[in-house]
Symmetry: C2
Subunit: 353 residues, 2 copies
């Protein structure tokens, strides 16, 4: 075998990794630059014993039980918005998906797709935000991956987080359990996340006045479960907003739903921005709001628990589950008419998460 000398594969005068202070294709190449990037930025920020083993994957011991597993990629633009950024969103979004399974979040993986030329300072800021969000949510980022794509073939940073959690023994939460007569409880005001992101993206004058609701929801869910509240189904109100979440649950459960407009909280600035932009807050993505569906007997106790947590301080009863009908979700408006709340075909707000 004719092995060319290794020096032939190195640039005559290699640039130090951080001198140019941007991400290079070489940062994704499996060589020294990638190792430096991982050590200097990721491992330093996410520091924990499982990650430190630097193996191909993380391993840990489990006791007998039920695990939950969920994945989400984050492509939000801009990367930073009032109330959050792509890093904290990538942690809280996946933590929340685990919480909606009734699970206590344990571990996250983090997969980065970086565009050549991305500022390393921006990357550091995003990674620090992820690390802070992981600490706040009590999860560890235990394994990761970094790919670099050429300039113009990505959009600065995409992040995938995949989460593992443990479902407490005896907890069973599923749309299949939803029954006519169940009550629909909403954890707080809707629409703020989508409007906050859009306002910055479009450079609107109220940009900065409206903050994303992005927040981890596992503590309030954990508390509901710990207090023995019987919950049939949980769903966070991300893409497609409250409208999409209720339509999906109704579709899975084979039921109808009636909700009351007067009971659905929307903050004044969000309502104003939605009118200006021609958006319906029922369809706008949230990142820290959820619905809980439960037997009527559980509602008072559930509201009391939820209101103990800042993220659900404005929890309210917004409607009831009915027999199956098509289309399934109907809104009783403040003026006394009925309006169908259908699933939209598409998207009001692209790249909102």
């Amino acid at each position: 075998m004719s092995m060319t000398d290794q020096a032939a594969f190195e640039p005559a005068c290699p640039l130090p990794a951080f001198e140019k202070n941007t991400v290079q294709l070489a940062h994704g190449g499996g060589g020294r630059l990638m190792r430096e990037l991982i050590q200097e930025i990721f491992v330093r920020a996410f520091d924990n014993p499982l990650l430190a083993t630097m193996h191909d994957g993380a391993t840990w011991h489990v006791e007998r039980g039920t695990l939950a597993f969920t994945t989400d990629s984050y492509v939000v633009r801009p990367l930073f918005f009032p109330g959050g950024d792509i890093g904290s969103l990538a942690v809280y979004g996946t933590v929340n998906d685990l919480a909606m399974c009734g699970a206590t979040p344990l571990y996250l993986s983090a997969g980065f797709i970086l565009e050549e030329g991305l500022s390393l300072d921006v990357l550091r800021q995003v990674v620090e935000s992820m690390a802070g969000a992981a600490r706040a949510a009590g999860v560890s980022i235990v394994t990761g991956d970094t790919k670099v794509v050429d300039r113009g073939k990505g959009d600065s940073i995409f992040i995938n987080t995949t989460g593992i959690g443990v479902v407490p023994s005896g907890t069973h939460i599923s749309p299949c359990l939803v029954r006519p007569g169940d009550v629909i409880v909403l954890s707080g005001d809707v629409g703020a996340h989508g409007v906050a992101v859009l306002s910055v993206r479009e450079g609107l004058s109220f940009a900065g006045d409206i903050h994303s609701d992005s927040a981890p929801l596992h503590e309030v869910i954990g508390d509901l479960i710990a207090q023995g509240i019987e919950i049939h189904c949980l769903r966070d109100l991300t893409r497609g907003g409250l409208a999409a979440a209720l339509n999906e649950i109704a579709g899975s459960a084979g039921v109808g739903m009636t909700i009351e407009e007067a009971n659905i909280p929307v903050l004044e600035p969000v309502r104003g921005a939605c009118e200006l932009l021609g958006l319906d807050p029922l369809y706008v993505a949230n990142e820290g709001r959820f619905v809980a569906l439960m037997p009527a007997s559980q509602v008072e106790a559930a509201l009391a628990v939820m209101r103990r947590h800042a993220v659900a301080g404005r929890a309210v009863r917004i409607g009831v589950v009915t027999d199956r009908r098509s289309p399934p979700v109907v809104l009783q408006t403040v003026v006394g008419t009925n309006r169908i709340v259908d699933l939209l075909s598409g998207e009001q707000l692209p790249r909102i998460c």
Copy 2:
């Protein structure tokens, strides 16, 4: 609250999802188009009971034991190459990372970042390939996510897969266990994957003659473990190739390594292509090759087991672990000289996986 009529958010005459036969931003919007895309393409291909629950995440029961968890994003170009495609690569790559932890792969998540305008036929082909690879590897794709980015902000398809596996009781595989005197066994010829991808990308005349080695490795690893072979460390030879893998292990274990050029198999066409392209096969990415480091007493039995499996049919002893030295990895060349096999600073071949 003034709710604009829902019809205001729908195009006057919405296009059926698949009429235009390309991915639209609306496919990522949480609405009907996204649900159709998921049902028609993903759920149909990945069909399994956990995925069918269509919850925010998958849940399942585990017995007491050790789990492994690993993530990888795939950005390879072109999407299709001799011997594989981004879909099968995304399954086998993550299956192999689990196998390198000594784990039996169980479940994968799949996160897609699609570029607006992507052909749905291409997406279907990639998803079918993933489904076939998952069946071949005995894993289920149990949860997923789809995001769509605007045209020019992605590159047709990026895929993240994150995997969970179970490590058999009593199995402990880690670079920390590697000791001077251990033998380095290589599972087969190196360099074919990187050269196969590059040849198609560059339109070289031998494109199609060289096939990627992309393959699942969990069966041969499972067999080694089941036969009670004592293995200290396993590593698949992806980005950075054999050279990067050995340097990483040597760095983690605090040891040196001496490998013999004459023992490292490189297929003739791969060797020729590498010479033409100025590549060193030791640094070229593989997707179905690994090294196993073990006490000398285990080598004969290990080789016998490995050679029973087509993916490791050419398994050979390529070197030994020595005391720590710097730089750690030295190649004894066929002409009798010693050459340092250092970690490259960057990348020979961008976007190879």
